[in-house]
Structures are given as C-alpha cells and as structure tokens.
C-alpha cells in the first residue's frame, strides 16, 4: 500500500490559522487533537452519539468526529480552548459549571461547554425544558445531568447580569 495523498490546508481554530497536511480521511477531531495538538476536544464514541467532540463551526455546534478535516477549510472553528479569556479566566459558562459542580471526570465537559455556548447564544434565557432539550445530544456518565442543567441556568443568569459573554 503506497503512501497516502496529503492535502495541505489551513484550519482556523479559535481565530488562529493552523496549517496542516492531512489525508482526506483524517477526521476533524483527530486533526484538532493530534495534528494541531488541541486535545481539549475529546472523542467518546466516534459515531456521533456522545457529543464529547462537539466544536463550533461558524458558531454552530457540530460533531468533529463526523466531519473530515478537509471539509473544515474556510470555516471558523471554536474549541473548548477558545472559551477562556486571554489570561485563562473562565467565561460565564465555564464558571457556572464550576459553581454548580457540573462536571466530575471532565471528559464529556468540553462537548457540553460548546453545546451550551451555542444554546445560550441562540436562547439567552432558556426554560427548564429548553435546557434539558438543548443538552439532550450529549452524554455524561458521571453527573446524572442535574448539576449540568443547573449550570446552564446559572450561566444564563451570569450572562444576563453582564458578568460575562460567551465567547465567541
């Protein structure tokens, strides 16, 4: 089997251009993690069900394990590493998860943070049902979700208070 053809492209992640050279079959999740070294995006199932690998593509949540890296050319990708401020200060969603104990092992957490960021950008004050519905595409095995739901409400409150805007 001969060497694979590599595609040279630039992935824009958290506003930073990253030149990569990848085969056509390279998943976006693998390119982020192993080519660029942004390992905050996690891979829990590689079939698009668990939501651990959720990133934002032009502000919309997508499963980076269901997308090829070459397909992300020309799009703005946001990962969990892009949420905190320049000095590492947690944004409103991150702070809410800490305050409400919305994470335990932390493996699913980046996917939840990205999903919730998109959810609150679209709906800044979701009802209980809207929160549950909004996170119902992400699996968590540790928390039983109760504190994640509380975290989303808390994040909405923090953002309404102007205590912090979700990035981006």
């Amino acid at each position: 089997m001969s060497a694979e053809h590599l595609h040279d492209l630039t992935l824009t992640v958290n506003g930073v251009p990253h030149p990569v050279s990848v085969p056509a079959r390279r998943l976006l999740s693998d390119a982020l993690r192993h080519d660029i070294g942004l390992t905050g995006t996690h891979v829990g199932c590689e079939h698009g069900v668990c939501g651990c690998c959720t990133v934002l593509l032009d502000g919309q949540p997508v499963r980076s394990c269901l997308m090829f890296a070459v397909s992300a050319r020309g799009h703005e990708i946001t990962t969990v590493e892009g949420l905190a401020g320049p000095g590492g200060e947690l944004n409103a969603v991150q702070r809410a998860f800490q305050e409400c104990h919305g994470l335990q092992c932390g493996f699913c957490t980046p996917g939840f943070l990205m999903t919730v960021t998109a959810l609150l950008a679209e709906n800044p004050s979701p009802t209980e049902d809207e929160v549950v519905e909004g996170i119902s595409g992400n699996l968590c095995r540790c928390t039983g979700y109760q504190n994640i739901v509380a975290s989303v409400h808390r994040a909405a409150a923090l953002m309404t208070d102007g205590a912090g805007e979700p990035r981006p």
């Binding site: 089997m1 001969s2 060497a3 085969p23 079959r25 390279r26 693998d30 993690r33 192993h34 070294g37 942004l38 390992t39 905050g40 995006t41 996690h42 891979v43 829990g44 199932c45 590689e46 079939h47 069900v49 668990c50 651990c52 990962t79 969990v80 590493e81 949420l83 905190a84 590492g88 947690l90 991150q94 998860f97 800490q98 305050e99 104990h101 994470l103 335990q104 092992c105 932390g106 493996f107 699913c108 957490t109 943070l113 549950v132 519905e133 996170i135 119902s136 595409g137 992400n138 699996l139 968590c140 095995r141 540790c142 928390t143 039983g144 979700y145 109760q146 504190n147 994640i148 739901v149």
Partner: protein
C-alpha cells in the same frame, strides 16, 4: 483565618483545568507515539486455526504485527488470577493474545503497531485469521444446562460454588407461618465510562526503564503486573493514571492484555507506543457486570417478620475469572441489607459463558442482592396486605444493636459487621421527603386524569472502605507549598479537592497552598486502588494521619525556635503561633526550613538552618534520634474491617396505559455515609449513581444473541440515558459517623446506583398491580407483561 474546610461544599480544585480543555487524558499524551490496533475475534467460541499476516505487511507505516507465537515466554502465560478464593475451584484467565481458543467476541488475536492509528487499522483489517467456530454458551440457562462447555476442562461450566449460612434457614422457613418462593432475573450491563481504556508506554533504552500511562483505577496494581510479566524491577517501572475519563469499576480490572502488550511492544520496538480503545472495542473487550438468576425462599410470621431466608443464585461471570468471584460474594453478603435475618442461607454458582468477562461495575454485586432482598420484602408486604414501609421497619436492625454482626464473611475476608447507622430514622426521613403517606391522594388525583402512578422504595447497606490499606504523604516545602500524594487514582471523584480540604483542616493552612497528586507511582508507590467506595475512607484517613504527624512536628520545631511550650501552640492560616500571643509566630515555610538542618544555604531564609546560624546543644545530633529531616510525614490507614454506609431511595413512576413507557416523576434519596467531607461532591456522586440505577432499571442491557454476538455494541443501540431520561433527584443526608476511622467517614461513590432497580421495580409493580420480577424493563417488556397478566386474568 483558617476555615474549617472539612465538611464545606467548596468548589473543586480540578475544575478550572478541565473546563479550559487542559485536562490530560491518556490519548492527549504522546502525540509522536506509534499506534496499536487489535484484530479481535468475530466469533464467541472458536478455535484459531491460522493467522496469516502477509496481507498487512505492505501497509504504509506498518511497524510490527504480533501474534501469540511472537510473545516471549512470560508474556505468553495466562494473565494473572487477581483474587484467588477457595470457592473458585476452576479459575480461568485469558492469554494476552489468543493462543488457540477464542471464548468471546472481541478477544484480541493479533496486535498491529503502525505510525498512526489509521494505518494500524488498515493493517489490522488485512490480517486473515482462520477460525473453526465452536458452539457458544450464552446466558445462564444454557450455561447451567452444560450441554456445551465454554472451557473443555471445566465441568458443568461451573467456576465457583459457595455457600454461606447463619442459623438453619431451610428449617426456619419450613416452620414459618408463611412461605413464598420465587425467581428473579437481572440482565447484563456495564460501567461504560465515556473515556474507554488507553495505554501509552515509553521505554527509555538508556535508562533501561519504562513509563506507562494507563486509564486505570489502580496504577500500583498495573505497575506490579507489568514489572512481573515483563520481568523488570519495580523501581524501573513507573505507572501514572493521568486524568481518567470515568471508571465506575471497569478500570479496576488489571492488567488488561493491552496493559502488558503495549509496554512490551514499546520495549521491543524501542519507541513510544499508544493504544486508545474505541467505543466498539470497549463494548466487546472491556468487562461487564450484573447478570444473575436468583431463586428466593422466605419464611415469615403474621406481622411480616422474616424468620428465614434462603437464596440460591446463578452468576454469569463470562468467559474468564480474572477478578475472582468478588461480585457474587458481595451479592451474598450484602443481600441482607438493613434487615435482621434470624436464619439466612445463600448459595451461588458462578458460571462460564462465551461472553465478555464480568468484573465489578459500580455497586459490584449489590444492586443484584438488594433487588433480591427488597423484592422479597415487597412480596411479604403484598402477601400480608401490609404497608411496605411497615414491613421494613419491623425487620430493621436497630441503632442499639450496632455494631451488628451478620455472621458472614465479607469480600475482604473479614466479618461483615455493621459499624453504625440509624435505619428507622433514615426511613422516617425518606417517607417525609417523598411524602409516602400522602401518595394515596396523589395517585387518586392522577387516576382521575387517566394517569397511572406507582410508588416504591429500596433500602441497602453498603460495605465501603475495604482494606488492606492506603497511604498518604504530606510535605510542607520551604516555599510554603503543602504537597500531598496518595497512590490510588482518581476518575472524577474530586480527590484533589477533598484531600486538600482534609489537609487544610488538619494542618491549619489555606487550601490554596495544598497540592494533591493521586495515582502516580513516582510520588507514592504503595497503594491498592480506587474501588469499593474506598478512596475517601482509606486515603482520606491516611492523609489525615500524615497531616497530623506533620502538624505535631511543626509545632515541636516552632516551639523550640520560639522557646515556647508545644502545648500552647496553634497553626492558623499557615502560621505556627503561641495561642493568645500572635506576635510569637513563625510561618510553616520557615518551620520547614528549620526542620532540615543545612550545611549549605540556598536563600535568605535557609540561612537560619545552617550549622553556624544558631547555638545548638553540642552533645545532641542535629537531627534528634528517631526523627527525620524535613517537614513531612508518610502514614498509612489500614482498617480492621470495612465500614458500612447505607441509604434508602423512593421513587414515583408514571406508566403509560397505552405505550407502557415508564417515566420517573420523583426520585428521593436518603443517604448516610457518616461525616461528609464535601457535601457538594457527595451529592454529585449520588446523582451520577442514581442515573446509572435508572439506566440499569429502564434502559441499559447487553443484548447478546444466541451466537454470542453483542447486538447493541454502540451508543446508537446501547441506551445510555441523556438528560431527558434522568429524573431530578431529591436528597437528604443523615450522618452517623463511623467509629472505625479517625475522620468518621464512610464511602459514598457507589451508593447512588445500588437500590435503583429495586425501587423502580417496586414502583412499577405498584402502578401495574402485578409482580415485577426482572430488570431492566423496557416498554416492550412491560407491554408483554401486561398482556400476559391480562390473559391470565381473563382465563
């Protein structure tokens, strides 16, 4: 001011890192490592006739292909039997790579190493294995019938048989005014952490040493196994559990074949090798739990008091018994729960099947035992027409009977003796929380709207904090940092936080100064592991004892320096001072300097500890006899026996009259794990456990077909609950401290899952009006049950 941090719901120390995406899980490490992939058996039971690797050899990036024939002698031995037991008469463990026989779908046959995972999988799929399929044994009934054997040399497929008894249960049942006999079934489930297994090994040829990162609940166990099997000195093997993306029991199993093969390949190839399990591999190659078939006989009096209980059960331990028979032993010994059983007999057979091996999953045999006991109590109540809580209250072990000896031998080989608990008070709290007595009205109001509601409860006692020991090391550095380490590892329980709370409280330092490391053999080499709800009890107490020694030493050194009486000293906010005289004070970091007599100074502060700095007694050595330099201490906690936590759950369900869908409307938990170190974290543990309990009752099962194929080996088909399936959980805490350990704590990690299936079965039974004798229960199952009972009623 130093706050009393023990008992406070402080925010977690580990969170900022994890929230920024800066967690470091195994697959986040080793970007330049070669990748391993495995060829796994598609058959449940087969002979391996031939392995042809030629198709893989021209794959670009291939580094190595290994079959059983390639393994050195020691690696080619069967993997260890971790927990031998006299009742396990026919133990069998697997080979790291299959030798000649396959015993479950997913068993590793060939290991491929390539420059990246894509190429490794390209090569793996070009390996041709020729199998001779054999008849598989799937399920307990087939295994017990033993028309086909899993292992040709294990008669009756029976790996273990064990009986424990207190009194003469058969005689007590025969003499009892009432007797009931019935069968219960529980299906398979599994821990299913979101991060699967993973191993990353770095061989250092210059140093002749090995460093292994593994997603494990026991780095010291993995190190011992690797050192033994790869024939290396312990000191030349370091094992680190970095951030671990959930464990729930499955990662206490060790060594996995991959934990031996990946380090071996790294040494053989002279380069870093990493293997990251994918989701399908986790379903078919990481262990499962739960499945049992139980036969219960119970004798009781007119008031519902149990006179004798006789339980015989079959336990499906899958293809191998690497973890011994811990799960069915726990079922046997924890089955009595909070009840006084004047006569109890329990007998189990642990049977082989051609399925993935069974080792502990959160709860570890207790959900099955509790299911048997609680279903039994509910049957008694139904038989006598009594309130289910009343029958429970009449059978409870009472607080003044503590410590209460069950007369059984627990999983640690020691007597099962309940150390404390107040079951009547827990039940009172639970009834109040769920408004048990008000439910009749709730049910009637719902019925008026055409809705069908039911209520149920489940009680349990959980042996936690099993030995043999854990250790802790506390070191105050000369910069004031308090470095803490313990050997067991963390999978989301917040150990960095709770252990820091303990040390901050014991030592009198700000929590921000305390830095905790877990699961790293470089920092602490003696440990057992994180399982059996033991980390807080074992390492928490060990760390507390170490912190107390450090405190005593600090006070002594400071008292010498200040020419004060040690009894008059206190440590507040990191400063050792004379009580009532805050000016006579010395910071801990300075005490740390003074505790280490120096020849060479390295800073302004260090000068004070050099040999010409202060007058000293010329007739005494600089370090008093029996003492050691440095403000540090290492201590161990080794309990006489386990401490027993307990709890009670109550559930209100609504069953759909048409679709048979079950919806949990309310879920109430009363929990008693002794003193709480961090209530926020304990609540989180309960929530997660309850979610797994609900999952095990209504959604999750391992669906093996008759060929031993796992039909639902993906998250598309294995129904792990999302937020939409888990109810809101209401909790209340009772705190009866354990008299067995210095902190008065009991384990909390597994509790939430234990009575879930029992309580939900009870609630469905209450709503439907006929007995629920098996779990889990899908809408389809419930629909069939309804139809059967309707047909029975009609005929």
């Amino acid at each position: 001011m130093t706050t009393q941090l023990f008992g406070q719901p402080v925010e977690r120390r580990e969170d900022p890192r994890l929230l920024r995406g800066e967690g470091r899980y195994v697959d986040d490490l080793g970007r330049s490592a070669a990748a391993a992939a495995f060829v796994r058996s598609p058959h449940a039971h087969a002979r391996v006739l031939d392995v042809d690797v030629t198709g893989a050899l021209n794959v670009d990036g291939l580094l190595a292909v290994y079959t059983f024939e390639d393994l050195p002698e020691r690696v080619a031995q069967p993997l260890p039997l971790l927990i031998p037991h006299p009742a396990l008469t026919h133990p069998r463990t697997q080979y790291a790579l299959a030798r000649d026989e396959i015993n479950h779908v997913g068993e590793a046959v060939v290991m491929v190493v390539a420059t990246d995972r894509y190429r490794a999988e390209d090569a793996a799929e070009r390996v041709a294995v020729t199998y001779e399929p054999l008849a598989p044994v799937v399920g307990l009934e087939q295994s017990e019938a033993a028309r086909t054997l899993v292992h040709a040399d294990v008669p009756g497929n029976r790996g273990a048989h064990m009986v424990q008894q207190v009194g003469d249960a058969p005689a007590a049942i025969a003499a009892a005014p009432h007797r009931l006999d019935f069968r219960l079934d529980i299906e398979r489930s599994a821990s299913t952490p979101l991060e699967g297994r993973g191993v990353y090994a770095r061989w250092d040829a210059q140093d002749d040493s090995l460093r292994v990162y593994s997603s494990t609940q026991t780095p010291t166990g993995v190190r011992a196994a690797i050192a033994a099997i790869l024939e290396l000195a312990d000191a030349k093997v370091e094992v680190i559990a970095p951030d671990v993306g959930g464990g729930f029991g499955v990662k206490i199993m060790h060594p996995w074949p991959e934990e031996i093969l990946v380090p071996w390949a790294a040494r053989t190839l002279g380069r870093e090798v990493k293997w990251t399990e994918d989701r399908r591999e986790h379903f078919v190659a990481a262990n499962h739990e739960r499945a049992q078939e139980q036969h219960v006989s119970v004798g009781f009096d007119d008031e519902g008091r149990i006179l004798g209980l006789d339980v015989t059960f079959l336990h499906d331990h899958g293809a191998y018994t690497p973890y011994g028979i811990i799960v069915p032993i726990i079922t046997s010994t924890q089955l009595p729960g909070p009840y006084r059983l004047p006569a109890y007999r329990v007998e189990f057979s642990s049977l082989y099947t051609n399925t993935v091996a069974v080792t502990p999953y959160r709860g570890a045999g207790r959900p099955q035992g509790v299911f048997a006991m609680e279903r039994t109590v509910d049957r008694i109540a139904a038989h006598l027409g009594l309130d289910r809580t009343e029958v429970r209250a009449r059978n409870f072990v009472l607080p003044d009977e503590m410590p209460y000896d069950l007369g059984l031998i627990f999983q640690d080989g020691r007597p099962a003796i309940y150390d404390s608990g107040d079951f009547p008070e827990s039940l009172r709290m639970l009834k109040e929380l769920i408004d048990w007595d008000g439910f009749t009205a709730v049910r009637a109001a719902a019925a008026a709207e055409g809705r069908r509601l039911g209520i149920g409860l489940g009680c349990y006692v959980e042996g936690t904090g099993v030995g043999p020991y854990e250790g802790g090391h506390v070191h105050v550095e000369t910069n004031g940092r308090v470095m803490v380490s313990t050997g067991l590892s963390t999978q989301g329980q917040g150990h960095e936080t709770v252990f820091a709370q303990i040390v901050a409280t014991e030592l009198g330092v700000p929590m921000a100064d305390v830095h905790v490391t877990t699961g790293d053999t470089r920092r602490f080499g003696y440990a057992v592991g994180t399982f059996a709800s033991r980390a807080a009890v074992m390492s928490g107490n060990a760390i507390a004892l170490a912190a107390r020694s450090v405190r005593a030493k600090a006070v002594k050194v400071a008292a010498d320096a200040l020419e004060a009486n040690p009894d008059d000293m206190e440590i507040v906010d990191g400063v050792v001072r004379v009580k009532g005289s805050p000016a006579d004070a010395i910071p801990l970091r300075q005490v740390a300097v003074l505790s280490n007599p120096l020849r060479y100074s390295f800073s302004e502060e260090a000068k004070a500890a050099t040999q010409f700095a202060a007058p000293a007694d010329p007739d005494e050595p600089p370090i008093p006899r029996g003492e050691a330099p440095g403000l540090e201490s290492r201590d161990y906690y080794s309990p006489i026996r386990s401490t027993f936590a307990n709890g009670m759950h109550a559930v209100i369900v609504e069953v759909d009259p048409d679709t048979a869908e079950v919806k949990v409307l309310r879920y109430a938990v009363v929990h008693d794990c002794g003193n709480l170190i961090n209530p926020r974290i304990v609540e989180g543990q309960i929530h997660g456990g309850v979610a797994q309990g609900v999952a095990g009752a209504l959604y999750e099962r391992m669906a093996y077909d008759e060929h031993g194929q796992l039909l639902n080996a993906s998250f598309m088909d294995f129904l792990m609950p999302y937020a939409t399936e888990v109810p809101r959980i209401e909790t209340a805490h009772l705190q009866t401290p354990s008299p067995l350990n210095p902190l008065g704590i009991k384990g909390a990690g597994e509790a939430g899952v234990i009575p879930g299936a029992a309580a939900i079965a009870a609630a469905i039974e209450d709503a439907e009006g006929y007995p629920i004798m098996r779990m889990p229960l899908s809408p389809d199952d419930l629909f069939r049950l309804r139809r059967e009972h309707a047909e029975e009623a009609a005929s």
